[in-house]
């Protein structure tokens, strides 16, 4: 470990990296933000000044070393700077999910005992004010956007600009203090604390040190050769470890430019304008883009459609090989070049992927069709597998070894081990320090030798050495007949259909599998429009017989493909229904990162599951829903249940072999 500290030239904290960048890359753009329709740019020198002013302002307000400062809001340059300013004065930034309800925020704020919060706007100010009287250590709030806040009581409320001005005014007084605090930061000091959304239970505060962040950033930058010239778009929640690594860790390590979109809704057009060279998105973003491309092609002129279909066929056949540098025939190369001009180029431009050099997807499995669609266009999209506790990186796919069904080889510096029950363990410089105020969880996750349990079941493919993830370790169960039950494996296959947004498969300990389906309102709505099916909303569309027919066809196709995999052929879906509402984080049915909360759904919809297994053809039900503003209501519906065709089950001899193959 001591030697890696040398490898980073004594740059052992983010503020230290900032000071280096302000000298080495002084006039190079560090941040851009679209405001009033124009991209505003800050150079590294500007950023250094802004952070200094804010850090001085924080000292002026009485921030002590070791204080926790909550950061709440969308991706805005000033909020990123706030994190670095907090670090500079020896405090610990705690970014929170900006779409969390006040109650959820209250838990985190109280748990970390934040004295200060730096928030984006009125919306966040309101949420914190709602709960601040219950928070024992909470003192002051700083906001970025003054809109609508003029009339608020400003005893404990400050505008960020004023804090900076006051810091600047007190420069002479506090600069020595700031320098001293900054000098104390080293590899062991805490860089950031991130709360994991947690598929079960209360969120846990993952403490990551400067070592974790900087080592991970350095290793990953080397792996993909990321340099100061990269452009990234910061649009994923700031509370998520991935954004912290991409927009702070890697950005400060390599000195590249972070671009903040104008608003959540303009993300797609901002992406197009920026044309990032390095891009990260969870599968749902890639899915969403592909869906909108397909929808647009449905409405396109016959000529365009013809061109698109022809050239996409060519791309599918030879695109990935060309990308991987494998030999491809002259005619195909020529056709592909033609397609580049006619289809791929313009398409990549619309998507904002013209300049992309490295793209990553992670968090969930990505559909093979979606994955190969982007790769066939010549976009170097790869998969990685990671966790907050690992400072993101566990495995990554090296260039030229990219496949849809694996998550790659161990990232640089990462050791991998598969336990007897199939659970994946890892050890790396990125392994987190501890869970804040939670030694039991720390102990049960990370052992004395530094091995961390991922909670996922998987195996290492013998030939390639790539890791394959099957499912959450605790979700992998046994069917009544003892065969393997891997719900997520089937759900992912279902979700690869653009018409299906979410799926929840049941069957643990039962004799057969059944499923809940959520249709994708955009895709199915468009289909309905083209087929002259009128509907008033999600519920009506979800109950339409033709939609049921369509979903049934998808389910049966999935069954056919599941049957082909001997290990998992028991997971075919015998019966399914389309839920009358979309699964929603506000109702607790999903996490904020849109992962299904299986247990909660099982309890909440017990009547529907019962109906799936007792063979009834219809069931009437009533469900509680929570609106965005926290009010509750009920919706009731009568759902139709459908049987799906299943395919001959092949014996599962292979199963044991494969799992044991680690």
């Amino acid at each position: 470990m001591a030697q890696s500290s040398q490898a980073t030239d004594g740059l052992t904290s983010i503020p230290a990296l900032l000071q280096r960048n302000a000298q080495v890359f002084a006039a190079k753009p560090a941040y851009r933000e679209k405001e009033f329709g124009i991209w505003q740019t800050w150079t590294w020198a500007d950023v250094s000044r802004e952070v200094d002013d804010l850090a001085l302002g924080l000292i002026n307000m009485g921030v002590n070393e070791g204080d926790f400062i909550a950061i709440i809001g969308n991706n805005r340059p000033h909020l990123y700077w706030s994190m670095v300013a907090a670090q500079s004065v020896g405090a610990i930034p705690v970014p929170l999910y900006q779409d969390a309800a006040a109650e959820e925020m209250a838990y985190v704020l109280e748990h970390c005992g934040a004295r200060f919060a730096i928030v984006e706007d009125q919306e966040q100010v309101d949420k914190v004010i709602e709960v601040q009287d219950r928070l024992h250590q909470f003192e002051h709030m700083i906001y970025l956007d003054p809109r609508g806040l003029r009339k608020y009581d400003h005893h404990r409320l400050h505008e960020l600009r004023h804090v900076q001005e006051q810091g600047r005014a007190a420069r002479d007084e506090f600069t020595p203090d700031l320098a001293a605090r900054r000098a104390k930061l080293d590899y062991a000091s805490t860089c950031v604390m991130l709360y994991t959304s947690g598929t079960t239970g209360k969120p846990k505060g993952v403490v990551l040190s400067n070592r974790n962040i900087i080592e991970s950033a350095r290793n990953s930058c080397d792996f993909d050769n990321l340099r100061a010239g990269e452009e990234v778009l910061a649009y994923l929640p700031m509370a998520w470890v991935g954004d912290f690594i991409f927009s702070i860790g890697q950005a400060y390590w390599s000195g590249f430019c972070v671009n903040c979109p104008e608003s959540t809704e303009t993300m797609q057009s901002d992406l197009r304008e920026i044309g990032p060279s390095y891009f990260f998105a969870p599968p749902r973003v890639f899915e969403g883009m592909l869906t909108s491309v397909m929808i647009r092609m449905e409405d396109a002129s016959p000529l365009k459609k013809w061109l698109f279909d022809r050239f996409m066929t060519v791309a599918k056949r030879v695109g990935p090989d060309i990308l991987d540098g494998k030999p491809v025939g002259m005619t195909d190369r020529l056709l592909y070049a033609l397609g580049q001009i006619a289809v791929y180029g313009p398409l990549k431009n619309t998507l904002g992927f013209s300049n992309i050099r490295v793209g990553y997807t992670a968090g969930e499995a990505i559909g093979p069709e979606i994955f190969s669609f982007y790769r066939s266009l010549g976009i170097n999209l790869k998969q990685l597998y990671g966790q907050t506790e690992a400072t993101v990186f566990i495995t990554v796919q090296p260039d030229g070894e990219v496949r849809a069904d694996t998550v790659g080889v161990p990232a640089p510096g990462v050791e991998l081990r598969i336990a007897d029950n199939g659970e994946v363990f890892y050890r790396s410089p990125g392994v987190f320090e501890y869970y804040y105020k939670n030694p039991e969880s720390t102990a049960s996750t990370k052992d004395a030798e530094g091995w961390v349990a991922t909670g996922d079941a998987g195996f290492i493919e013998p030939g390639s050495g790539h890791l394959r993830i099957i499912d959450r370790a605790k979700d992998v169960g046994k069917m009544a007949d003892g065969s393997l039950f891997a719900p997520k494996y089937v759900e992912n296959k279902l979700k690869f259909y653009p018409n299906i947004l979410e799926a929840v498969v049941f069957g643990n300990g039962r004799d057969r599998c059944c499923a809940f389906i959520n249709i994708d309102l955009q895709a199915v709505g468009n289909w309905a429009e083209r087929n002259n099916i009128s509907y008033s909303g999600y519920q009506e569309l979800a109950g339409h017989p033709k939609v049921l027919d369509m979903v049934q066809a998808h389910v049966e196709e999935v069954n056919a493909s599941v049957a082909a995999d001997p290990m998992l052929s028991g997971c075919q879906i015998h019966r399914f229904l389309i839920l009358h509402k979309e699964l929603d984080a506000d109702d607790g049915e999903m996490t904020r990162t849109r992962k299904v909360r299986r247990r909660i759904i099982e309890d909440k919809y017990a009547d529907l599951i019962g109906a799936l297994y007792d063979g009834s053809a219809q069931i009437a039900t009533k469900t509680e829903v929570t609106y965005e503003d926290g009010r509750k209501g009920y919706i009731s519906a009568t759902l139709t249940l459908r049987d799906a065709k299943v395919f001959p089950v092949t014996p599962h001899k292979m199963a044991e072999q494969k799992v044991a193959a680690e």
Binding site: K34, E35, F36, G37, I38, R147, G148, R150, K151, E262, S263, E265, T266, S269, E628, D629
Partner: protein
């Protein structure tokens, strides 16, 4: 700055609201307005005033003559009797476009947008009266026209940012849903930087969430730009939360005028509203 304003403002020239906003002198005064369509009286002898910085509401059941009143203020109707005073001067009978040029912008109950244009172009039309260069000048001094265009675009972008419609900047208006169209119409009116903003049923046809958004925007507009706002609503609940003073109309007559609390306890108002089914 504030102290100065206090010194200038005579007690009779304004008041301070419960939330501490300073309301200025009278901006517009309607004196004994009567409006007839043929033999039918739409408005009968109504007088009231609108003060600077105020959110003033005109409410009443359907058919009470609220919209007619707004159309009188904006010049779409010319009253047979009565006087309209604006900024301390009697306003001669005027065409709507002349009224608009005085700095009075409005929206419409049924939305009047340029459907064929993008959101940006629509909002830019709000700046037409701020474009000074003549036709010939625009052809000859291209630089000056461009500088003017940039300045106008800046104002428009601030409004777009303020109303959070950045994502639909380049979208043709015809493709937008109803709630967003209402917001674009408000944006166009705001782009004119009006001294008086008239809103004709800004919440009509909206769902609860859209109504809340619109209420917030109206309050923010008043708060941020100090714009005087006169709005019409038939939904009492919304108005009472928003406005500083309320005029209540029924069958073309004024039956109440005062703060929301005054009006709520006014017997004539209660009767008028009890006589009307909620819709």
């Amino acid at each position: 700055m504030n102290a100065q304003m206090n010194a200038l403002a005579q007690p009779q020239d304004g008041y301070t609201t419960a939330d501490g906003r300073k309301i200025g002198p009278v901006l517009m005064e309607m004196k004994n307005i009567t409006l007839r369509f043929g033999g039918v009286k739409a408005i009968t002898d109504i007088s009231f005033d609108i003060r600077e910085g105020e959110i003033r509401a005109i409410i009443g059941p359907n058919g009470a003559g609220k919209s007619s009143m707004l159309n009188v203020i904006s010049g779409f109707y010319v009253p047979q009797e009565g006087e309209v005073w604006y900024k301390g001067q009697k306003r001669p009978p005027m065409k709507p476009f002349q009224v608009a040029r005085l700095g009075i912008a409005r929206t419409f109950q049924n939305i009047a947008l340029f459907e064929g244009m993008t959101v940006l172009d629509n909002v830019m039309t709000g700046r037409l009266n701020h474009m000074k260069s003549g036709l010939i000048a625009q052809a000859i001094w291209k630089g000056r026209a461009e500088a003017e265009e940039v300045a106008n675009r800046e104002v428009v972008e601030k409004v777009i940012d303020f109303l959070e419609i950045q994502a639909i900047r380049k979208t043709p208006v015809a493709r937008l849903p109803y709630g967003l169209k209402k917001r674009v119409e408000l944006a166009r009116a705001l782009a004119a930087e009006p001294s008086l903003l008239l809103l004709d049923e800004p919440m009509a046809g909206m769902n609860v969430e859209e109504k809340e958004d619109m209420s917030r925007f109206i309050l923010d507009v008043n708060d941020e730009f100090g714009t005087t706002i006169c709005l019409i609503e038939h939904d009492m609940g919304v108005v009472m939360d928003l406005s500083d003073r309320v005029v209540v109309m029924d069958y073309g007559k004024k039956i109440g005028d005062g703060t929301p609390d005054d009006v709520r306890s006014n017997q004539a108002v209660i009767d008028a509203y009890l006589g009307v089914a909620h819709d």
